[in-house]
Symmetry: C2
Subunit: 114 residues, 2 copies
DNA sequence: CCTATATTCAACACATCGGTTGATCAAGGA
DNA sequence: TCCTTGATCAACCGATGTGTTGAATATAGG
């Protein structure tokens, strides 16, 4: 299952900020509200609220309703889509490296036979 | 093996651009020069050169020297560092979901016993 | 030596990002 | 109803990102 290009843009860009990565880390331990997510950081709640909107637009989190609170929840499948994208190219590169190593090994053996 | 925070910033941000992701895809099929990487895009070589500098600063590629050319090579271990970071939090979230499912199942069973 | 090719540097324009403050909206509780 | 709390909206500011053009550097090759 693949995602569209613009969504990959948003997701990778979202992870390119240390505040948002820390939020991801916190949310992996359970849902949290804006206030709870804001607590560790020396920035305003408004700024945190916008970081959350970025994560939500990227599909990395979803939000529910609990009275006046809007808890955030991590979406593991969205994270999985990113690792899939990366792994496709990493694995292809590693395969290529192995093929190249094999070729070099053959060359060496032929040199020894001379 | 973990990387420092600023390097994660650069790497994830680097992947948050469709041009740079396309370059990663191309480099997974083999090394390429600035000119070769520029060919698919309707932008100047200078712009491509800077995209390459971003990828290099992020540690995602390295460059060698071949006469007047500067071929780029993908660094699979750098990609692996990113999937590791993501997987840590994805897997923790999935474990938590499974624990929650188990709890809900227990509640259901207790209700049936009443 | 002279020229062509590959790449990079420098300066600029414009958009987006990440933060602020102040106002606003929505839900709860005395 | 009134006040508090949680969250968001709007306007603004400085920094950064991505593109451009034009000049500079470095290597290859006649």
């Amino acid at each position: 299952m693949s995602v569209d290009d613009a969504q990959l843009d948003r997701a990778f860009t979202a992870l390119g900020d240390p505040v948002r990565r820390a939020m991801i880390a916190q949310l992996s331990r359970g849902p949290a509200t804006v206030n709870e997510l804001a607590e560790p950081f020396p920035i305003t709640k408004q700024a945190v609220s916008r970081h959350i909107q970025v994560l939500e637009a990227a599909g990395l989190i979803t939000r529910t309703r609990d009275g006046q609170r809007r808890p955030c929840h991590l979406v593991p499948s969205a994270l999985e889509a990113l690792t899939s994208w990366i792994d496709e190219y990493r694995l292809e590169t590693e395969r290529r490296f192995r093929r190249m190593d094999a070729v070099l090994k053959n060359v060496k053996e032929q040199e020894q036979e001379q």
